[in-house]
């Protein structure tokens, strides 16, 4: 049994590794499909052919694609992701601090999403069909339906510009995280609430709930002691995947609130046509997502004895 668990863990790790290499290769190929020489685009029309040539070869852009890719992977393994075209610094030095900003934002957003989402979902599930249920589900659908920029701008307008309770943009202290966290977490809260609700309702229809009731447990006890744990299994998976989503999907939130995170950096890299930087951020984001999926898998395995024993 134990040997099984280890091999399945190893297999998953291997799959994750393959996925990351696949992502890296895809990014690499995509970015080199740009028509024309990126260096020429970067330097503008003023640059003469010789300069373009020189810079291209210093960047290794004149080598065949597989060689470039191998170079890149080898470099990446030793922590060298190249140097940003536009900002003139090593990519690592740029994405490191940016990632920390994004991480803090994601944690705050996850907190918002999960606390609100789980609470609303539970409440709706236990009052299925009642007015609160429909109200909460209506709001959660709104949560999934509103574009992030709209929520962000609305929050900014009301709480920062109009009421002056919180800063408009940028981060000087923790108050700076409040509005972006809500904007970013809003949609996730909606989907968590919906999943919690449907999962709890489904679990409450299982046969073992009758058994627990037949033992003399009250409805509330059955919910807390029996249904909740099992209902949370799919939710845990969703949350793990969501967290990586929050870490990687903050393009708009970071742009609206001027937070120097990975999302904003990626947007800058694209507008600046900065290949090394974009490569770095994309790879980081893909890595985060793959890790999120891996953690989701593992968490599910740990929390469900049926899966844990490899049956």
């Amino acid at each position: 049994m134990r040997g099984n668990a280890t091999t399945s863990l190893l297999r998953r790790l291997l799959y994750s590794l393959i996925t990351i290499v696949g992502v890296a290769a895809l990014v690499f190929v995509l970015l080199r499909m740009v028509p024309g020489n990126p260096v020429a685009t970067l330097l503008g029309e003023r640059a003469d052919a010789e300069t373009v040539e020189r810079i291209s070869s210093s960047l290794g852009l004149d080598k065949p694609l597989p060689v470039q890719f191998a170079d890149y992977v080898l470099g990446a393994l030793s922590g060298d992701f190249g140097e940003s075209f536009t900002l003139g610094k090593p990519v690592v030095d740029l994405i490191g601090p940016a990632f920390m900003n994004t991480l803090r934002l994601a944690i705050a957003a996850a907190l918002v999403a999960w606390v609100v989402g789980i609470a609303c979902g539970l409440f709706a599930a236990t009052h299925k069909g009642a007015l609160v249920d429909r109200l909460f589900m209506g709001i959660s659908l709104l949560g999934v339906s509103l574009p992030v920029f709209m929520v962000a701008m609305l929050l900014q307008y009301v709480f920062a510009r109009y009421l002056h309770w919180l800063p408009v943009a940028g981060i000087s202290d923790w108050t700076g995280y409040v509005l972006p966290a809500i904007a970013l977490g809003w949609g996730s809260a909606g989907s968590v609430a919906r999943l919690v609700r449907s999962s709890v309702i489904e679990e409450l229809q299982q046969d073992y709930i009758d058994t627990a009731r037949a033992k003399g447990r009250t409805k509330r006890q059955v919910l807390v002691l029996h249904a909740l744990r099992n209902a949370m299994l799919p939710v845990i998976t969703l949350m793990a995947m969501q967290f990586s989503g929050l870490l990687s999907g903050a393009f708009i939130t970071e742009t609206v609130f001027s937070i120097n995170g990975i999302g904003r950096l990626s947007v800058q890299a694209i507008t600046g046509r900065d290949i090394p930087l974009l490569q770095g951020t994309t790879l980081l984001i893909a890595f985060v997502i793959v890790m999120g999926n891996l953690v989701a898998d593992l968490l599910y395995g740990i929390s469900d004895p049926r899966v844990r024993k490899g049956v």
């Binding site: 299982q206 046969d207 073992y208 009758d210 058994t211 627990a212 009731r213 037949a214 033992k215 003399g216 447990r217 009250t218 409805k219 002691l225 029996h226 744990r229 099992n230 299994l233 929390s303 469900d304 004895p305 049926r306 024993k309 049956v311």
Partner: protein, 325 residues
């Protein structure tokens, strides 16, 4: 009065669907005496499980008990609120379900699931509760209880799981055990084991209400039998009387169907047609469309239960004719 553990009278349980009211249990009265094993027999969809659920107070929406009374050990259950019912459930009356596969919580160790019952109804230390759990687990015939205590349901065979369910139901020594098709999902050899176990339990003084579509199970276990058809009791009698002298055409047909399997005849006896849709019952006797002795009155007038012999009651217009006695 004191002699009966359970007294159900004129119980009506209905489902309120968008096609209107469906009477799953329609004016059912039954009685389980102390130490007695009472069986309810009927085909799928006749409402027999709903009787059990009504007694346990576990009728799910959109179902509801709409009338009648359920008296357990002198206590009226239909007027209790959920909290009071919770005290009764598991302590005075308990239930074993059909599917041992899904009736146990998949993510909780079985020992804890059994022990939980004690924790709900008594103030005892964890160690004591554990001790009692181990005792009851071995009493229901589970080998290596210490190891099984920490097992998850999926690690046990179907037979062991049903034994765990029975242990759970019996740990508080309730006065009434309801077993709803306890062996339907099990293999023949395991079924025999579980029936033997239930027989043994019945001898310890617990009253048992056993619900089954299997006449073999009923014949082996029950002292007194109720036959249900389309939500109503159509015949009730002592077990030997019922098997020797079935009077209702439905009972007759059921027994005939089973016994013709054991006879040498090439063509088996059947009951034509299917169990009717409860939402759309005929005006008269529900069995009339399938009955080979159907008379004019059967289509329009609903028969009532009439005593036809010692402890033998029948719900059929034939009682009025000469055919019966």
């Amino acid at each position: 009065m004191l002699n009966s553990t359970l007294e159900v009278s004129h119980l009506c349980t209905s489902f309120f669907t968008d096609r209107g009211e469906v009477k799953a249990v329609d004016d059912v009265s039954l009685r389980v005496d102390k130490g007695q094993v009472v069986g309810i027999v009927g085909e799928s969809g006749c409402g027999k499980s709903m009787v059990a659920r009504s007694v346990m107070g576990l009728v799910k929406k959109p179902g509801k008990i709409v009338g009648g009374s359920i008296v357990l050990n002198g206590q009226e259950l239909t007027s209790l609120d959920d909290k009071e019912l919770c005290e009764v459930r598991g302590r005075d009356v308990s239930m074993v379900f059909q599917e041992p596969m899904t009736s146990l919580n998949p993510t909780m160790r079985v020992g804890r699931q059994v022990q939980e019952v004690v924790a709900i109804h008594e103030q005892v230390s964890k160690e004591q509760a554990r001790q009692r759990t181990l005792e009851i687990l071995s009493a229901v015939g589970i080998p290596e209880v210490e190891a099984r205590y920490d097992a998850y349901p999926h690690e046990l065979s179907g037979g062991l799981r049903q034994r765990v369910m029975i242990a759970m139901a019996m740990i508080m020594r309730p006065s009434l055990l309801i077993a709803d098709e306890p062996t339907t999902a099990l293999d023949a050899t395991v079924e025999a084991q579980i029936i033997a176990l239930l027989k043994r339990l019945a001898h310890t003084g617990t009253s048992v209400l056993i619900i089954s579509h299997n006449l073999g199970v009923i014949a082996q276990l029950a002292d007194y039998v109720y036959v249900m058809y389309a939500g109503r009791i159509v015949e009730k009698a002592d077990v030997c009387e019922l098997f020797d002298n079935p009077l209702h055409p439905y009972t007759h047909g059921l027994l005939g169907a089973v016994s013709s399997l054991r006879s040498q005849s090439k063509v088996l006896q059947t009951i034509p047609g299917v169990v009717p849709n409860l939402a759309n019952l005929p005006a008269g006797c529900s069995f009339a469309p399938r009955c080979d002795r159907c008379m004019a009155a059967c289509d329009s007038v609903r028969p009532e239960l009439v005593t036809v012999g010692a402890g033998h009651e029948l719900c059929c217009h034939l009682t009025k004719g000469v055919d019966v006695l």
